[in-house]
Amino acid sequence: MSVNDVIMDALVENKVDFVTTVPCKQLAGVIEKIDEAPDIYHIPANREDEGMGLCAGAYLGGKRPAIIMQNTAIGVTINSLATLIQFYRMPLPMLISYRGEVGEPVACQVEMAVHTKALLNQLSIPTYHFHKPDDADELTDILSYCYMSKKPVAVLMDATFWKGA
């Protein structure tokens, strides 16, 4: 099974019903599936901090939100993570295309890749790194854990993982 389908199944199993996205090449397939999913309201955001605001509002309204973005967005969203998602104790699964790892063709992407885990660690955000396609099997449990703990949780999915798409 394609990792895109595994991701979709995990979202559906966790009754995720509100997803905001900022695209990345690696995420194209899964974003397309989310857009087609009948029980998920898909709302593209122009910037990831805006997306986190949308997710926070949807959560207040009773939805189970998630954000799909590239790891460069960690640089954009630190304030929103600290002062909104964490401060008010809201769950937010972040499904993150981990650019700049082995297999990356664009040098500039490496510049944020080397800071990604350090920044997430500094924010005390539970972080999972999907490297092999089979790693996606854990996503269902990670999503449940995120909503249970009411915290942002990061899932970094690198280029090797996306070979399973």
Binding site: F18, Y41, I43, P44, A45, N46, R47, D49, E50, G51, M52, G53, L54, C55, A56, G57, A58, Y59, L60, G61, G62, K63, P65, N79, S80, A82, T83, L84, F87, Y88, R89, M90
Partner: protein, 184 residues
């Protein structure tokens, strides 16, 4: 009229509505003038009141008013195309436009210069944009609440602030009591 005068006139209308109030003085003034569990006070995260408001409006059926400021909308301009293209008929974005960053000492914003927020909202595709003067805020918000159409209100008022204490409520308490109102 300054922002707090506008808010005072609106209280009879908005007291029972779900409000997402912008960081700084809009939150602090609403907290001082009319603290309600239906108020979601933003204590940080400048710029995101309209995004939180839209997410909330899309998620459930009760009316939602995002009480925003010109400086915050300027900070998060990307919100306007998202609002325009994800219409929630129960959503009102009320921008109190005093042409200044009130919470930080009334430094001028571009909305008090050449930039018209209502023109920007229209250009972004928002269908129902109303610009009003402070004196007409009550009637404008009332007709938006009475209607069944997503409305962006740009309410022009004078720059200036009253003295208000900071909000010392715990954010989790703000969230918890707000969510109970949403679910009620």
């Amino acid at each position: 009229m300054i922002r707090s005068d506008v808010l005072k006139t609106l209280i009879p209308l908005i007291s029972d509505q779900l409000l997402v109030t912008n960081i700084g003085l809009p939150s602090q003034e609403m907290h001082l003038l009319d603290d309600q569990p239906s108020n979601f006070y933003m204590l940080g995260t400048m710029g995101l009141a309209s995004s939180i408001g839209l997410g909330l409006a899309l998620a459930q059926e009760k009316k939602v008013i995002a009480l925003d400021g010109d400086g915050s909308v300027l900070m998060n301009f990307g919100t306007l195309p998202t609002i325009a293209n994800n219409v929630a008929s129960n959503f009102i974005l009320l921008i109190i436009d005093n042409g200044s960053y009130g919470s930080t000492g009334d430094q001028p914003t571009y909305s008090g210069m050449k930039t018209s927020l209502s023109d920007v909202a229209r250009a972004c595709g928002c269908d129902h944009v109303v610009e009003c003067q402070a004196e007409d805020a009550f009637d404008t918000v009332k007709s938006a609440l009475d209607g069944d159409q997503m409305t962006i209100i740009v309410c022009k008022c004078e720059s200036g602030n009253i003295k208000v204490p900071v909000i010392d409520m715990d954010p989790v308490v703000i969230k918890d009591r707000f969510m109970k109102v949403v679910q009620s």
